[in-house]
Amino acid sequence: MEEEDDCPELVPIDPKPPVSSVGQIPVTIITGYLGAGKTTLLNYILTEQHNKRIAVILNEFGEGSALEKSLAVSQAGELYEEWLELRNGCLCCSVKDNGLKAIENLMEKKGKFDYILLETTGLADPGAVASMFWVDAELGSDIYLDGIVTVIDAKYGLQQLSEEKAEGLLNEAARQIALADLTIINKTDLVSGEDLDRVKDTVRSINGLVKIVETQRSRVDLSEVLDLHSFDTENAANLSEKLHLMRSPHPHLDKSILTVTFEVPGDLSEDALNLFVQDLLWEKLFLNKGGQPMTVIRLKGIVALAGKDHQVMLQGVHELYELNETPERWEENVRINRLVFIGRNLDKDVLQEHFLARVLHKLDN
């Protein structure tokens, strides 16, 4: 109890943290099978970025039964534990996920992080985890979803991807690749050049858009892993270029997840595009030639909307999707729509046909 009469030591003026989202904090989801090298990657990031304040969450958020979850914070080479309070209260009519709110609350009390890394278990659906953090911009969260990184073992990866699953069940390894913005093929020192190429080709056939990086012991240039901005418009020019250069890859495994891409010149009607995407993602209306419903896991594209100068980015993960105007203008470039679909039972012809019929802007409308 301080003496009321004692003159205390002055403290530096503590500027109130700005309320606006200058300096939003990226969340990177790291997924992959046990043993692929996720933890090694995490540790590597923490060591290399020892000047940054990084939060690491392991095994995402459990089935709503825990009241607290531990989070490790790395700062100046030290690792210490914090606790996330997964507040009780109404879980179901709350817009933000409990886990997200818990992280925001922690940051409010203890200060912001520079990065948040979330390592998921091998069986988790990274898409579901991503949805937690892919919040509407309108919510003004300090946190944004930066990207999904999948680590795959060069030696056993192919086997994992080829594993036959019971009818209707998804191969988790394939899903992890499908959702990845970056795939790290690790332990390349343990395989031959040929084998490595096979793994790469297989990854490409599942996800034609993903960036692939080869590593040994998960040692990677961190600029490849962090600040990906895969879900916002910051790297729009980059995406545009990638789509431009993409060709539909050939499926390598007799597996159902693959990448389909097409391009269509001309303007689109925004309403019709929304309807098309909703019919595809929500209603699963489109069937392939075998009569099976197409299920899209990841959707990306740059589209030209009638009346808009700027290129518009389309992003989707499972059923969540968003259209966002990018800072890139069409200007003299040909107004052309490029779309990439990653998922099961996809049929390029059927998709393109539906798209052409329903979404192109009719001039007489």
Partner: protein, 387 residues
């Protein structure tokens, strides 16, 4: 918003040097602006400065004793917590009420943490149930019962009545209708309805606080009958209410009704937020983002998620047979919310008022049916009769 680079001058009289330091005791006591250029300078004016501390501490003590000693009511259960507005909880709460054994209870009623396994099972899915004709009939029945209970609660709203008294009546009214009060023990919520006063956005816990003249009060009722839940809420005036508050309540009601007007098969759930926010903003108000409408039938809260703000990513298109709530929370000031240490009470961060209205709706072939509509007085909301 003030720039953090504003130059600050030392508080010491006759000293106009740049101040980069602050008095820590003032920070603790919440006294703003005690900036000084140096420890020496500070020591120099300590004799007069410490009087500020004394004054602030005295004020604090006065408030505390006033609040805490009054008839054993404790209005400061969380020392150190900074309330955003004038409202404080009034503890202690009466013990959790029980429901007779013959009344059908939802799965969470007896769960030690109030968790609903049926809801958890469907967590994350966006498949919206299409109700059968029987289900729809059951929803009509339970929604009507919920409406009856709300109407009874409405009659009690006047200065001097405590929110706990209203809750007690609600509890008894549910039981009399063979209903379980859905909020009771839902994730351990301690009461049978939510009562949200002034700056409370939602999920206010009924307590010993008597309603005051000038308050606005929202009572949120959900009842469970024959395996289904029915949910509605209305904001009421307590005594004589300021014009500004009336405008808020009126606008909020209009937001809900305009959204309801648009409900019909083919409309996307995400569209409702655009309608609500447009009207709220046009009247200078903001829309709460953290809480949303929800699907309701055999489960209290389920798909779809219905955010009330514009440009949201809600998944789903309305189809006949869907049942869900729309329950916009509209604020005088900013939309940002914060939760009290009780883990439930959501308040506006700036302490300004928030109002809410809610209905449970059934999508029909041509539009929608307001299952929780008022059957008397031409279907008018209670506040309209209170004007």
């Amino acid at each position: 918003m003030a720039s953090t680079e504003a130059r600050r001058e030392c508080e010491t009289e006759d000293c106009s040097k740049d101040a980069k330091l602050q008095c820590p005791t003032c920070i603790k006591l919440g006294i703003q602006g005690s900036y000084f250029c140096s420890q020496e300078c500070f020591k120099g004016s300590w004799a007069s400065h410490k009087l500020l501390h004394k004054k602030a501490k005295e004020e604090q003590n006065q408030n505390e004793t006033k609040n805490c000693v009054e008839k054993e009511t404790n209005t400061d259960p969380w020392p150190g917590y900074r309330y955003t507005g004038k409202l404080h909880p009034h503890y202690p709460l009466t013990p959790m009420r029980s429901v007779p054994g013959n009344i059908q209870k939802p799965d969470y009623a007896d769960h030690p943490r109030g968790m609903s396994e049926s809801e958890q099972f469907l967590k994350g899915t966006s498949q919206i149930k299409i109700l059968s004709a029987e289900d729809i009939e059951a929803m009509r029945v339970v929604s009507k019962l919920a409406r009856e209970v709300l109407d009874i609660a409405a009659m009690m709203v006047k200065p001097g009545v405590t929110t706990e008294e209203i809750d007690h009546t609600v509890h008894l009214a549910c039981i009399a209708r063979n209903c379980y009060p859905s909020p009771l023990n839902y994730y351990n919520f301690p009461k049978s309805c939510c009562t949200s006063v002034n700056e409370v956005i939602c999920h206010g816990i009924p307590d010993r606080r008597p309603l005051q003249d000038g308050d606005i009060l929202n009572v949120d009722i959900t009842v469970y009958h024959n395996g289904f839940h029915g949910d509605l809420n209305e904001t009421f005036y307590v005594g004589e209410v300021e014009e500004e508050a009336k405008k808020l309540v009126q606008t909020t009601y209009e937001c809900l009704m305009q959204a309801i007007d648009s409900v019909k098969p083919g409309i996307r759930y995400r569209e409702l937020g655009n309608i609500i926010q447009k009207h709220a903003q046009a009247n200078g108000f903001s829309v709460v983002r953290s809480y949303c409408g929800h699907g309701i039938h055999k489960l209290f809260h389920t798909a779809p998620n219905v955010p009330h703000y514009a440009k949201n990513k809600a998944v789903g298109v309305m189809k006949p047979g869907h049942v869900f709530t729309i329950e916009p929370m509209i604020c005088e000031g900013g939309w940002q919310d914060e939760t009290w240490p009780d883990g439930w009470t959501a308040v506006t961060r700036d302490g300004r008022r928030s109002a809410q209205f809610e209905h449970t709706l059934l999508v029909t072939e041509t539009g929608c049916e307001i299952l929780t509509r008022r059957l008397e007085d031409n279907g008018r909301a209670h506040f309209l009769s209170q004007m």
